[in-house]
């Protein structure tokens, strides 16, 4: 069963990677357009003579932000679009594991966004002469991977639950977009929030990831100093994946009963 899930995941990731990178102009747009956004923040920080760490924090936050938008617009609503195009019917009727499809969507999306986010980060570092702690490469890489696994596991939950929605799906995306970015501390540390909001934010993998990267790359902390973030991200990955798989089964069952697996143009 695991072999089957991985094979289907590979096929679905292939579609996403091959399709998204077929047209190089998409890549250019995905890197340069966000660059305008982060540049505006960085120019503002510079004009205010903000400390260097503010600039580095904003550069990291802006690069990571792309993953959240990818989870929302490409991952969460993916099953909804698959249904609209008639693919979901074929996935279900094929008997192949839907978890493989979900996993493939996550892997493909994460790979594509890593290419794009790296582009944004590298250009920001060069253009604004941002200094990061280069000694923390390995812990940073590990933290980055854990952030992505937990973030895309959350995306899998959204993808399953979005099967419930009809056309309102884009409104749900909009509803989740900005508040999560606010909680994630994309442009400022979440430490500025009251404790209750910090606790709430610690369930958002993006917030944890950005905070961890900031501590490692900007504040020169060691892996041991932020080990709680690593552990929490591992816990969230398992928790979210478990919920996503359960939810997916529930949604499929409910879809067969109510007809929502095949009902289009609601």
């Amino acid at each position: 069963m695991i072999k089957e899930i991985l094979k289907v995941a590979y096929a679905r990731a292939y579609v996403r990677i091959k399709g998204t990178n077929r047209d190089i102009t998409h890549y250019i747009a995905d890197v340069f357009l966000p660059l305008f956004g982060v540049s505006a923040i960085l120019f503002a920080y510079k004009a205010l003579n903000a400390p260097e760490i503010f600039l580095a924090s904003a550069a990291i936050g802006a690069s990571m932000m792309a993953f959240w938008y990818n989870v929302l617009w490409s991952m969460a609503s993916q099953f909804y679009w698959e249904r609209e195009h008639g693919n979901l019917t074929l996935f279900v009727a094929s008997g192949s594991p839907l978890t493989g499809i979900l996993l493939g969507m996550a892997l493909g999306g994460a790979f594509n966004m890593t290419l794009r986010a790296s582009g944004v980060l590298i250009l920001t570092i060069i253009l604004f002469n941002i200094k990061l702690n280069q000694a923390a490469i390995l812990p940073t890489f590990l933290l980055f991977i854990l952030t992505l696994t937990s973030l895309y596991s959350l995306g899998m939950i959204f993808a399953s639950s979005f099967l419930r929605f009809g056309r309102s799906v884009s409104k749900v995306n909009e509803l989740l977009g900005e508040p999560i970015l606010f909680l994630s501390g994309v442009y400022f540390p979440i430490g500025v929030f009251p404790l209750a909001i910090q606790i709430l934010a610690s369930f958002v993998p993006l917030a944890l990831g950005i905070e961890g990267l900031r501590e490692l790359l900007v504040l020169n902390k060691s892996m041991n100093d932020v080990i709680w973030i690593y552990l929490l991200l591992v816990f969230l990955t398992f928790l979210f994946s478990f919920i996503a798989i359960k939810l997916l089964r529930k949604m499929e069952k409910e879809g067969r009963s109510k007809g929502t697996l095949t009902l289009r143009w609601e």
Binding site: Y14, A93, G95, S96, R256
Partner: protein, 322 residues
């Protein structure tokens, strides 16, 4: 009890969507090796029945078995043996090439990574798709799309293939090509069975071994094409062309005794109405002509025609299949 050769069996199968009855006590059996047609107008329940048999939708009442497996509980066993091709679908991803998209589906159907490419390449060759195998899905014509979709549908060599309006929207040549593939595919292996839904009479007549006429969620009649035609073999079918006729005249024509079925089709652009009338006794047509003339309406053409499945539908349901 399910007999071995029975690929599909439904027992008092019903499906409701709220207060709407989509399927009402459907009892059918489909045997191994046959092309079984479901003939009915849009909204008659054809696609709902396919969705239930393809394990995508649960019945509200009754039972359905595919290869002896219960669609409600043993869906995982059924899914590996079936596939679906819907005429109005554009499956896959627009940005992928035909070849890549077929490979993607091959992975869902259980092939290995390399094995998938082999199977796809051989099918592309077999179905002469080389000239558009490298073309993106979003750049295919309707005919190419349907050919690609058909090949996708047989990728897993299904034992039961659901064809839901497979030639809808295609021009005559493209539709004929798909029909010839369907005939060729089922002939290749006696273990294969097709459930075809269509509202094209000629398609049903050309392809199906048996046909179920479905209307408003109910099966009206199941028989072979010959058997269905026999229903109207003793009847006489006339076509009358007149200038547009008012509702009032239609109502009075319907009241003429001896008319088994009557349907009209008006064309506002040519300002004409075509009447198709099924009668047991040819002399009744004289009463029809008299009634039309009495209303001051001219008769532009009158002909006696050979009964077709269209007339069977008209005879059984009371209106033409549109």
């Amino acid at each position: 009890m399910i007999v071995m050769d029975e690929v599909v069996t439904t027992i008092n199968l019903s499906r409701y969507f709220g207060n709407v009855v989509a399927l009402d006590n459907i009892n059918i059996t489909i045997n191994k090796g046959e092309i079984f047609g479901l003939l009915g107008p849009n909204g008659s329940g054809k696609s709902t029945l396919i969705k239930i048999l393809a394990t995508l939708l649960l019945p509200s009442k009754g039972e359905a078995y595919v290869f002896g497996f219960d669609v409600k509980t043993q869906y995982d066993k059924i899914r590996r043996m079936i596939n679906i091709v819907a005429g109005d679908d554009r499956p896959g991803y627009g940005i992928l090439k035909v070849k890549e998209s077929l490979w993607f589906f091959s992975q869902l159907y259980g092939y290995g990574i390399k094995e998938g490419w082999k199977v796809v390449n051989s099918l592309i060759e077999k179905f002469n798709m080389q000239d558009f195998a490298e073309r993106r899905i979003n750049r295919l014509s309707s005919g190419m799309m349907q050919k690609y979709n058909f090949v996708r549908g047989i990728l897993n060599n299904p034992k039961l293939l659901f064809l839901d309006e497979p030639t809808i929207g295609l021009d005559v040549n493209a539709a004929n090509e798909i029909r010839s593939y369907i005939k060729e595919w089922i002939k290749e292996d006696g273990e294969r069975t097709i459930l075809l839904t269509t509202h094209y009479m000629a398609e049903a007549q050309q392809l199906c071994d048996r046909i179920a006429i479905i209307h408003k969620g109910r099966i009206i009649k199941i028989d072979t094409v010959e058997g269905l035609l026999k229903l109207v073999s003793n009847e006489h079918v006339f076509e009358i062309k007149t200038p547009l006729i008012p509702e009032k005249l239609m109502d009075s024509l319907k009241k003429i005794e001896g008319i088994k079925a009557l349907d009209s089709e008006s064309d506002v652009s040519s300002y004409t109405t075509n009447l198709r009338i099924v009668v047991s006794d040819e002399s009744i047509i004289a009463d029809v002509i008299s009634s039309i003339k009495a209303s001051g309406t001219k008769i532009l053409a009158l002909s006696k025609v050979e009964p077709t499945l269209e007339d069977v539908f008209l005879y059984l349901v009371g209106r033409k299949l549109k």
